[in-house]
Point group: none
Chain length 406, copies 2
C-alpha cells in the first residue's frame, strides 16, 4: 500500500544547539518524545537545509522553500504575506505592510511600541479602515487586525512601489519617523506620501476613538498610532494545486504562516495562538479527510528559542509530541516532520543549522534511526537534503509524480 495524503508538520524553530542548562544537549535531545521517536523508528530520517546550507532563513522564506516555492523567485518581503495572513485578499501588485499599534504621548513621542499590549483591535482597526480616505491619491486601503497589538495594511492603486521605509522608530522616547522613498522613482515618492497621509489620518481617528478614550480613562496606554514596516509588493504565485496537482489546507495560528499558505492557494483553516493544541490537531485530522495535503505549523518552540529559554523549549516540544498521537490513526497518511529553521536558544535568533526530518508512512524505506533529534536524524536513510526537494520527494512517495523521460 502507498500513502495518498501528506501532513507537513512544521515545528517552528525546532532545531537548536547544545544548551548548557540541558547538560549540553539540545532541547530535542533532552526532551522525552515518545511519539516523535516512534515516527522516526517507523520511518526514514535525515537532516534538511530549509533553503540551502549556511542560509539563515526567515519563517517566510523557509516556508516558501518547503512548499516548493523557491524564495529567490517568489519572495517579495514579509508585508504582503503578513497582510494575507490577517485575511486581506492580496492581489498581485498590491503593497502590503506589517503594522502594529503603539502609543504616543501628547508631544507625539512613542512611549510604548505595543500600545500597552492591547488585546483586541477589531473595533479601532475597522474605524481606521473605514475612516481613512485616500481617494485623492486613487488608492484604496485594506487594514486588518492581527493578534494582540498587531495588524496589517495593504494599498491598492496605480503607481505604487514597495521601496518605502518604515515609520517605526524602533525605540521609545522619539517621534515616529517620516516614511521615505528608498529609491529615486516617482512611484516610491508617491507611495511614501500616501503612507504618511495614512499615518496622519489614522492618528486623528485613533486619538478620538471611544476605545482609546476608555483606555486612557482606565489608565491604560491608548493605541493611538499605527507603525508600519516590511513593505512588499504582492507577488504572483502559481497555486499549490497547479504546481503540485494536489489540494491543500493550512492550519497555522501565526498570521505570517497562514498568509503564506493562503497566498499559494492553500485553504486557510482559522486557528488562534490560544486554540488548544488538541483542537488544532483535530482540525488537521478533519482537513485530511477532505484534502490531499495539510501544512500544520506550530509556533511556540520558535518563540522559546527567540527568548533563549531552553528548558521551556524542551517542555514545549514534549507538549507537541504528546499531541501527535491522533495522526497515527489516519490510514494512507504520509507524515513529514521538520522545522522551518533552527532557532538556537544560545543565539536567540534563527540559525542556518539544518533541521531534523522524518518521513513516515506506507512506502517510505525504513532506516535505523529511532530518535528525533538533530544528530540522530543525520544518520538516517535520507542523508541531507534541501528544503526545495521536500515536496518533490513527498509527491513521489504518494505516487503523484510525473516521470521525466520514459
Amino acid at each position: 500500500m502507498t500513502a495518498s495524503k501528506i501532513l507537513l508538520l512544521i515545528i517552528d524553530g525546532v532545531g537548536d544547539r547544545p544548551c548548557k542548562i540541558l547538560g549540553n544537549k539540545t532541547p530535542l535531545e533532552a526532551a522525552s518524545l515518545p511519539n516523535l521517536d516512534r515516527l522516526a523508528a517507523e520511518g526514514i530520517c535525515g537532516i534538511m537545509d530549509p533553503i540551502a546550507p549556511g542560509v539563515r532563513g526567515g519563517s517566510d522564506t523557509s516556508h516558501l522553500s518547503l512548499l516548493g516555492y523557491d524564495p529567490h523567485i517568489y519572495y517579495t518581503g514579509r508585508g504582503p504575506l503578513e497582510a494575507a495572513g490577517c485575511g486581506i485578499q492580496m492581489e498581485p501588485g498590491m503593497i502590503g505592510f506589517r503594522a502594529n499599534y503603539a502609543t504616543v504621548d501628547d508631544e507625539g513621542r512613542v512611549i510604548d511600541r505595543r500600545a500597552g499590549r492591547i488585546a483586541d483591535t477589531t473595533e479601532i482597526t475597522a474605524a481606521v479602515k473605514n475612516g481613512v480616505d485616500l481617494a485623492k491619491f486613487g488608492v484604496v486601503i485594506e487594514f486588518a487586525p492581527g493578534t494582540g497589538h498587531r495588524a496589517a495594511l495593504a494599498l491598492k492603486g496605480k503607481g505604487l512601489s514597495a521601496a518605502v521605509s518604515s515609520n517605526d522608530p524602533k525605540k521609545t522616547g522619539v517621534l515616529p519617523q517620516t516614511i521615505l522613498p528608498e529609491d529615486d522613482s516617482k512611484e516610491a515618492a508617491f507611495t511614501a506620501e500616501v503612507c504618511n497621509e495614512f499615518s496622519r489620518q489614522a492618528a486623528v481617528i485613533l486619538n478620538n476613538h471611544p476605545v482609546n478614550l476608555e483606555r486612557k480613562a482606565r489608565g491604560e496606554y491608548p493605541a493611538n498610532v499605527v507603525l508600519i514596516r516590511g513593505a512588499g509588493e504582492m507577488g504572483v504565485y502559481e497555486t499549490f494545486e497547479e504546481k503540485h496537482e494536489i489540494s491543500g489546507s493550512v492550519v497555522a495560528a501565526a498570521a505570517l504562516i497562514a498568509g503564506i499558505g493562503s497566498s499559494v492557494g492553500l485553504e486557510r483553516i482559522p486557528v488562534l495562538p490560544t486554540t488548544p493544541l488538541a483542537e488544532q490537531v483535530k482540525l488537521v485530522c478533519s482537513e485530511l479527510e477532505r484534502k490531499d495535503f495539510v501544512l500544520f505549523n506550530l509556533k511556540a518552540a520558535d518563540e522559546y528559542g527567540h527568548d533563549g529559554k531552553a528548558v521551556e523549549k524542551m517542555k514545549c516540544l514534549e507538549e507537541v509530541d504528546a499531541a501527535l498521537l491522533p495522526f497515527f490513526e489516519i490510514p494512507d497518511l504520509m507524515i513529514a516532520v521538520c522545522g522551518d529553521h533552527s532557532t538556537p536558544c544560545t543565539i536567540k535568533d534563527h540559525s542556518a543549522d539544518p533541521v531534523p526530518l522524518i518521513l513516515h508512512g506506507d512506502g517510505t524505506r525504513i532506516d535505523m534511526v529511532s530518535k528525533y533529534d538533530e544528530i540522530s536524524c543525520a544518520a538516517g536513510g535520507l542523508c541531507r537534503i534541501s528544503g526545495g526537494s521536500l515536496m518533490p520527494i513527498l509527491l513521489d512517495l504518494i505516487d503523484k509524480t510525473h516521470k521525466y523521460g520514459a
Copy 2:
C-alpha cells in the same frame, strides 16, 4: 596504486521500497548478495539521486545523467535513442520513433497490439524499409527491427518536426489513429502527412507479405500494421571521448540503453536479452581490456519491479550478484554499482527514491558499509550525491581529472 579503468554497472531499477511479501524488506535487503556485499565492504558507498531529489527519471533521462549528459540539455525524447539502439545511424535532425508491430482485423481494427508476440521481424522489417517510397516528400526512411514485436523508425529529410502524435490507439477494438501535428508549424503538418503515408504503405506491404500469409495460414496473428510513438528529433551529443577524454563501450541488451550508449559515441557491443549473463560478463571483461570505460546495463530487475514481483526481483538480484565474480579478477578496475532509478514493486513503476551506490577499486576511501542495500549505503562515506556527479567522481578516482585552478 590507482585504478585506471571504469566499469559502470547499472542494475536497472535496482532500488525499491519495503515489500510485504519480503517481511517489509526491499528485494536488496532480503537478497543474499555475497559479491555485492564484498564490493560494499571493500569500497565506499552512498546513495544517489540519478537526476535530482524527487525527480522520477525514465531509463533514458537517468542514463544520460549518469553518463554525464544533463538530460535537461540533451534529452529530446525516447524515439531517436530507441532508433539508435536498433542500429539505425541517427544523425542530428533525424526524427526517430519507437515502433511496434500489431494486428488489425479485416475492418482495420486493432486486435492485438503485439502481433501475436511475433518473435522475429527481420524479414518483414526489411520489406517495409525497402518497399515504402517517400521520395515524393524528399524523405528517406530507416526502419529496423528490435526485440520481439518491437522496431524503430527514423525519418531523414528537410522540413521535418518531432511535434507529431502517435497512431497507437493504446487499446484493441478500434482503428489505429491518424497521426496529427502537435503544433501549428508547417513542419509538423508535413511530418504528420509523411508518417500517415508511411503507415499506409507499410500496411499494404505487410498484408501481402509471405511471412504474414504463412502466419495467417497457421492461425497466428499477422504483423500487418506498424504503430509508431515517442517522436523525437535526434540531438547533438558531444562524444563521450570528447567530453570525458576516455574511450568506452556499452554492453546492454535493452535497445534503449544501447541506443543511448551509441548516441554518445560508446562502442556498442551487441547482446540480446537472451544472452546468458555469464557471457555478457565475459564480453564486458574483454571490452575492459580494450577500453577505459564500459557501461554494463542489466535490465531484468527493473522488469520484475514493473510487474510488482518482489520475490522474483530478489532472486534476479541474486543471479546478478553471482555473475559478478570475474570482475574481482581485473586489476586496476574501478567498479561503480548503482541503478538508473528505483522501480518499487509496490508501485510497479519508476520512483524518485535514491539508488544505492558502491565505488570499489584501488584508490577509493573505505567506509564501514558492508551490505549493498538502500539503507546500508545511505550510511556510507559518499553520503548522498546526484547522478550528474558520478562521472566527474569516477574520472577523479582514476586520476583523469584536470585541476581547476592551481
